[in-house]
């Protein structure tokens, strides 16, 4: 795992070495083991390396036989041994044992057709010296990041935005519209970032940059959104689950390929226990596992984590995370996420990756992605319940399913206010024909956080309807031909998985401590298999991840399979206010700081703080908790990236 950075300038022959070196210093954490550069003609490439495969050779950039093609690469190609054999039989000569070198020869043979052969998680830049053309490629699901800035005939790219900002010529400004979208659906989507004119290569896309300009093309589409005229195949459940299990065995085992030990996270849920069980059963790996628990028992899953450890017999290390820990590490979290957050859940994962690193591990497998791919989230059930209820809006029984779905909301008042709560879920219930029906309630609720924006910022943004209209225009052709569950999974995966979850909880929190995450559930074969399954096999009635649960039987304790899914969450307001104290929170949320930055209304922000303090940080409303994190993280983002960069990290 590594960091990449580069400059391509067709217009003038700028000296690039010093800037490349500065860019590398900003992403040193991604690759502390070695650095390397290439500079010739219009191109300058730089690489920071975390040695995982071919520890003694393989420092980058890497080139082909005649040194006309150069690559810097972040990530893994898990099927590289198979590809390498094929390339050798076609006459290619290798000078390293790396997966990276496979890519230069694949490019020689297949050009931009190489992507369909790759099974991996990657972001790379490949420079064709003879043609003077750059190819930027990103994996299908967007596991590894790749950002760029382009002006005239000059393109600067890097694994993280902070490295782009090492270039003082690149303006640093938060884009009001993109900030507004983050306060609606938690993330920007596709190529946008929160920063004006800073873009990313979208998942499943590649970009070509030549003297003619920049072209971006899609090579893979999330299969849940693809139009399909054929009916779902009819097969017995046992056949589906057997096939899935075989696929997951392979997806897991190829993710153990490394010249360093590979560990695993254990969350106490189905997904990570499943992949850990597959490792124990199918490999000689003496598995080490890692987990995070909470002092606040509402969020703690250590009981189930220990159950998994006892069953699997792994060498286990755990940490317990307090309110204070989350508040203390949060500034560093934002330095790494490079985007405002709505929740604090990434923070404990940074503590967890630190634990991994302290135990001399560089690579971990995690269960990330299973909830999107096999329909594990409540939003999928909520969509189903609301559709079912909409068919008979007067029914007294149908809305009772909501209580099963959100017991923690409905139980607080022992059944009181149920009717009014039901009305909340009834909002927009009749808009069944909207392609984004599943997400309208969530987006509508989140977008009320925009009420905290300053009047000046409010003038620069569009409303929720406009956002929805624009988003619908980007949906693939034939989207409405898919069933409602697949549509909801598509929206969730496209917006939330890549841009929010995989970046803020995946790549960034692990790489902050020089740890590489690997995700068996995001093997594209698994994703494509899941999208081919009849929807009622993904979610059966109100049972989420039905097929996965079936496939897991016999591999782990039934209690871990059948337990009600607990969403992974972390404490919010109590981490910042109440019994904990952090100077930066008070400074960044002060009237002076809020006014100076101009993103938020200082009176409303102050009232939110007052309300929070009155109740010792135990704010009642989810929306207010989200607003608090949103405001604080935006202020931190401004502090890190607008005011203080270039500089050392930390507040």
């Amino acid at each position: 795992m590594c960091g990449v950075a580069g400059i391509i300038n067709y217009k003038s022959c700028e000296k690039k070495e010093r800037l490349l070196s500065s860019m590398c210093s900003y992403i040193h954490h991604r690759g502390p083991d070695a650095t390397g550069t290439y500079s010739k003609g219009p191109a300058g490439l730089a690489h920071t390396r975390l040695r995982i495969i071919d520890l003694h050779g393989g420092d980058q950039p890497i080139h082909n036989e005649d040194r006309s093609i150069w690559i810097i690469f972040n990530g893994e190609i898990f099927n590289y041994p198979e590809l390498r054999k094929r390339l050798i039989s076609r006459g290619h000569r290798f000078y390293t044992e790396t997966d990276t070198e496979v890519l230069v020869h694949m490019f020689e043979d297949y050009g931009t057709g190489l992507f369909e052969h790759l099974n991996g998680q990657f972001a790379f830049a490949l420079w064709d010296q003879n043609r003077e053309e750059l190819l930027l490629g990103r994996d299908r699901m967007g596991i590894r990041p790749l950002f760029y800035f382009i002006k005239n005939s000059r393109l600067v790219f890097a694994s993280e935005i902070k490295a782009l900002f090492a270039d003082k010529k690149i303006p640093r400004q938060i884009d009001p519209q993109n900030l507004s979208e983050i306060f609606t659906c938690w993330s920007t989507y596709d190529g946008a970032t929160v920063f004006k004119n800073i873009f990313q290569v979208p998942p499943g896309h590649y970009a070509q940059f030549s003297k003619k300009g920049l072209k971006i093309r899609q090579y893979w589409e999330l299969p849940f959104g693809k139009a399909s005229n054929r009916e779902y195949p009819k097969r017995p459940l046992s056949e589906w689950s057997e096939e899935l299990n075989q696929l997951l065995v392979d997806a897991t085992l190829i993710r153990l390929r490394a010249d360093v030990p590979v560990g695993a996270y254990l969350s106490g849920g189905l997904d990570s226990t499943y992949t850990s069980a597959l490792i124990k059963k199918n490999s000689s790996n003496k598995l080490c596992t890692f987990s995070v628990g909470f002092t606040d028992k509402r969020f703690d899953e250590s009981f189930f984590q220990n159950m998994a450890v006892d069953y699997l017999g792994t060498d286990h290390k755990a940490i317990t995370c307090s309110y204070q820990d989350i508040g203390a590490i949060f500034p560093k979290v934002i330095w790494h996420t490079e985007t405002p957050l709505i929740r604090t859940a990434p923070a404990p994962l940074m503590l967890l990756s630190r634990l991994v690193r302290e135990n001399d591990f560089k690579v971990v497998l995690t269960g990330e992605g299973a909830d999107e791919i096999f329909a594990g989230y409540n939003i999928f059930k909520e969509d189903k319940v609301r559709r079912f209820w909409a068919k008979d809006p007067g029914s007294r029984l149908r809305p009772l399913l909501l209580q099963k779905l959100y017991p923690y909301i409905f139980s607080q008042k022992k059944g009181k206010a149920v009717k009014v709560l039901e009305l909340f879920f009834q909002k927009g219930m009749q808009d069944l024909s909207s392609p984004v029906y599943s997400h309208m309630l969530r987006w509508g609720n989140s977008s009320h956080m925009k009420g905290f924006f300053s009047p000046d910022l409010q003038k620069q943004i569009s409303d929720l309807d406009n956002f929805i209209t624009r988003y619908i225009q980007t949906l693939p052709e034939g989207f409405m031909c898919r069933d409602s569950l697949s549509r909801a999974q598509y929206i969730e995966s496209r917006i939330f998985l890549s841009n929010y979850l995989l970046s803020s909880q995946g790549d960034r929190m692990a790489m902050a401590n020089s740890v590489e995450g690997r995700y068996p559930f995001l093997d594209h074969r698994v994703v494509e298999f899941a999208a081919e399954l009849p929807p009622d096999i993904r979610m059966n009635g109100m049972t989420e991840k039905y097929i996965l649960k079936k496939a897991a039987r016999g591999l782990m304790p039934p209690r871990l399979i059948n337990r009600v899914k607990q969403p992974y969450r972390a404490p919010i307001s109590q981490a910042f206010l109440g019994d904990t104290h952090h100077d930066y929170v008070h400074e960044l949320l002060s009237e002076k700081a809020i006014k100076e930055n101009g993103y938020f209304d200082h009176i409303k922000t102050n009232n939110l703080l007052k309300k929070c303090k009155q109740q010792k940080g135990t704010l009642l409303s989810e929306r207010e908790n989200m607003a608090l994190v949103g405001i604080l993280s935006t202020q931190l983002l401004d502090f890190h990236f607008i005011k203080k960069i270039p500089r050392e990290e930390g507040v």
Binding site: G415, A417, V420, L423, F425, I603, K604, L608, L620, S621
Partner: protein, 83 residues
């Protein structure tokens, strides 16, 4: 003495609108306008019960009683008279 409706208005403005009074008329639906979210409903009921020393029956917790300042005002008058 401050009118119940004004007390509730102040509570809503302070707790859910954080000082933004402009969008709240006597007939504004809290749920339709998204002023109150799913947990905010509970906060409102707690406030009503403590502030006016009443207990609201489950059967009374319907939008017709709770979903705007006018509805709340009418509902409170009815409760306070009958209790």
């Amino acid at each position: 003495m401050e009118q119940p409706k004004n007390k509730i208005r102040s509570f809503i403005v302070e707790n859910f609108l954080f000082g933004e009074e402009n969008d709240l008329t006597d007939d504004t639906s809290f749920l339709n306008e998204g002023i109150i979210d799913s947990t905010g409903v509970l906060e409102l009921i707690e406030f009503l019960e403590e502030e006016f020393e009443i207990e609201i029956d489950d059967d009374d917790m319907i939008p017709e009683n709770l979903d705007s300042l006018n509805n709340l005002d009418k509902f409170l008058k009815k409760i306070i008279i009958t209790s």
